[in-house]
């Protein structure tokens, strides 16, 4: 392997320039619900990266030729601020950001239950305020938090990180210098619960064995990142005393309700247990009701089928019509089991 190491990226103790071991992540800070106009939003700092993600929707896709009659489309836009890089970047999209927008849209599409929202679009806007290697992974990680913050039902929260090779060592989460002078870069995103890969890119030079190690490292990184995503969402609702800012689910008893969407692997299971009988058809009805109107909550009570399911589905929700209402307007319908949806999918 040819070394481009005019810069020393790895010292004799196997430590990297910033003192990290090969498998260490840079420090990550995630904050959810930071923008009042968005359905969901997230601010993320990761090493030297700073970025904001806003989710708008689900809402009717315009122009209409974009609409898919069977599901929502995910339109992700990755954009860099002019001041986010060393030399001023001319504002507006270029080939790089267009490619990134496309692969990120596809990665998120794999996680979101898009068939819940026919004819709708879910717009995910990623604004990179400061870039320091790994912005696409950072953007994807933050986008998942923003989608969860928007109450959009997902199989899982996508977590992403790059692995790569610096000199002769396989490392996790390359910083700017390592990215510039390293020998390989492997951005990867997974659904942490199943390990399914939703984004995979690579450039450089790796042996099959090194790729294997890099992938294992990236998966471990993603699992750690996923823990931080969940923490950030929890913190957001715990610290919010009066809930006034949370447009979608203002006064619903935050914790349980909001966790259901993404963290249902353990505690969500009990919530969903009752709704075994809800099939694909019901799910679609509920979905389109949500998209069409803000008063989805009241739509549900008009609809006999949905109402029945509701009774069987979850006593807690049944006790408190307020909760149903707030869920409805947030776009997330608690009556439909995420698990069923998933099975129907496969």
């Amino acid at each position: 392997m040819q070394k481009k190491d005019s810069v020393i990226l790895m010292d004799e103790n196997g430590k990297r320039r910033d003192g990290r071991a090969p498998g260490d992540l840079r420090p990550i800070h995630i904050e959810a619900n930071v923008l009042s106009n968005a359905s969901g939003s997230c601010y993320l700092e990761w090493g030297g990266n700073k970025l904001l993600v806003a989710v708008h929707g689900p809402r009717e896709a315009q122009p209409r030729h974009l609409q898919d009659q069977t599901k929502a489309i995910i339109q992700c836009r990755y954009n860099m601020a002019a001041f986010s890089v060393g030399e001023r970047k001319r504002p507006g999209p270029d080939r790089r950001s267009t490619e990134i927008s496309k692969v990120l849209s596809e990665a998120l599409d794999a996680a979101v239950f898009t068939q819940r929202f026919p004819r709708a679009t879910i717009d995910v806007y990623i604004e990179v305020l400061e870039a320091s290697a790994g912005t696409r992974c950072a953007g994807l990680t933050a986008a998942s938090v923003a989608l969860a913050d928007a109450g959009i039902p997902m199989r899982d929260m996508v977590a992403a990180v790059a692995a790569g090779k610096v000199g002769d060592t396989v490392v996790l989460d390359l910083d700017k210098e390592e990215d510039n002078h390293g020998t390989a870069d492997l951005p990867m995103a997974i659904l942490p619960r199943t390990g399914e890969i939703v984004l995979l890119q690579m450039d450089g030079h790796l042996t099959a064995d090194e790729l294997d190690r890099a992938q294992t490292m990236a998966i471990e990184g993603c699992l750690e990142i996923n823990r931080q995503q969940v923490e950030a969402l929890k913190k957001c609702y715990q610290s919010d005393d009066n809930g006034a800012d949370n447009a979608g689910y203002a006064d619903s008893d935050g914790g349980d309700a909001d966790t259901a969407g993404y963290d249902d692997s353990d505690d969500g299971a009990t919530d969903n247990a009752g709704s075994d009988d809800s099939d694909g058809g019901d799910a679609d009805n509920a979905g389109s009701a949500d998209v069409d109107a803000d008063n989805a909550g009241s739509d549900d009570s008009d609809d006999d089928d949905a109402d029945n399911n509701e009774h069987e589905a979850d006593e807690k929700i049944d006790d408190d019509p307020q909760v149903t209402e707030t869920f409805g307007s947030g776009g997330l319908d608690p009556n439909v089991s995420l698990f069923d949806e998933k099975e129907g999918d496969e």
């Binding site: 968005a38 601020a81 001041f83 001023r88 717009d123 806007y125 400061e130």
Partner: protein, 289 residues
């Protein structure tokens, strides 16, 4: 907001009814800004930066200096460029792409306030003046700042100052939010001499702090710092930018309604009373960082 933005009739009527009594929907006084929160220098890749929150409106500003060609008619003057990106993130009604009139208007009004207040002396921003700096010539009244190596920058270039404003949440009054964010970012801007082999970095000193004040007219009431709904209901809008002496350096009337000469006079008086307080607030937040 964009032309697509609508407001319900019932809300419009409510706002106008309140305005008729001189009241506002959020209970503010007519001459009261929303909460102002400024953070300085948080973007490492910029030479100066700020994040400003005015109520729910949120703007990032990054300033970058790069060697560039001067205008042919002013070969020794630095070049100032202001742009506003009203990204789709900022409001559900904003589409992606296409330059928006609103963003361009805001950028030009912000630019005028900074340019005309002469808080930046563009004649001190030719690159040769950085080199002269080493000959002991004073810049911004300061003594020379050490050695200047002959860098890779050719003769005849000047600093181009890019002020880039990134609106991430549009909840009304982009004029004041962007203007104050730009001034804040300039306050903490460093001239990156070292990067271009022009000697030591120096702070980009501002000789004054222009303060922008935007009012709207609703019925007969005049309100400072329009919120998101007030901006949609208002008949007319007036932005007044004042220098440290309280003199007027830039103005812009907007929206389709009319405004009277007497009202303009009144608003300038109000702005003159308020600007020193806003300036103090800005400088206090700057000193705290």
């Amino acid at each position: 907001m964009s032309r697509k933005s609508v407001i319900s009739t019932i809300k419009r009527d409510h706002l106008l009814a309140l305005a008729a009594q001189g009241k506002r929907i959020d209970g503010r006084d007519g001459d009261q800004f929303r909460d102002l929160d400024i953070q300085f220098g948080l973007i490492g890749s910029a030479d100066g930066s700020s994040r400003l929150k005015l109520g729910d409106t949120q703007v990032y500003c990054g300033v970058k200096l790069e060697p560039g060609t001067p205008y042919p008619d002013q070969p020794s003057q630095g070049v100032l460029t202001t742009s506003v990106e009203l990204v789709a993130m900022a409001h559900p009604d904003l589409g992606y792409g296409s330059p928006r009139e609103e963003a361009i208007e805001v950028a030009r009004v912000v630019d005028r306030g900074i340019r005309e207040s002469q808080c930046l002396d563009l004649s001190l921003l030719s690159i040769s003046s950085e080199k002269n700096n080493s000959d002991g010539k004073a810049i911004d009244g300061k003594a020379s700042e050490g050695d200047v190596s002959e860098g890779g920058v050719p003769e005849g270039l000047v600093w181009t100052i890019y002020i880039d404003l990134h609106v991430v949440n549009h909840a009304g009054n982009l004029f004041d939010a962007c203007s104050l964010a730009a001034v804040s970012a300039l306050m903490c801007t460093t001239v990156p001499n070292e990067k271009y082999g022009l000697g030591k970095d120096r702070p980009l000193a501002l000789s004054c702090t222009p303060i922008s004040n935007t009012f709207v007219k609703m019925g007969t009431s005049l309100f400072l710092d329009p919120g998101p709904d007030e901006g949609l209901v208002a008949d007319a809008r007036l932005t007044v930018t004042l220098d440290d002496a309280g003199d007027i350096r830039a103005m812009q009337k907007g929206l389709r309604g009319t405004i009277l000469g007497s009202e303009v006079k009144k608003l300038i008086n109000t702005a003159q009373e308020l600007a020193p307080k806003t300036r103090m607030l800005l400088l206090e937040q700057f000193q705290r960082t």
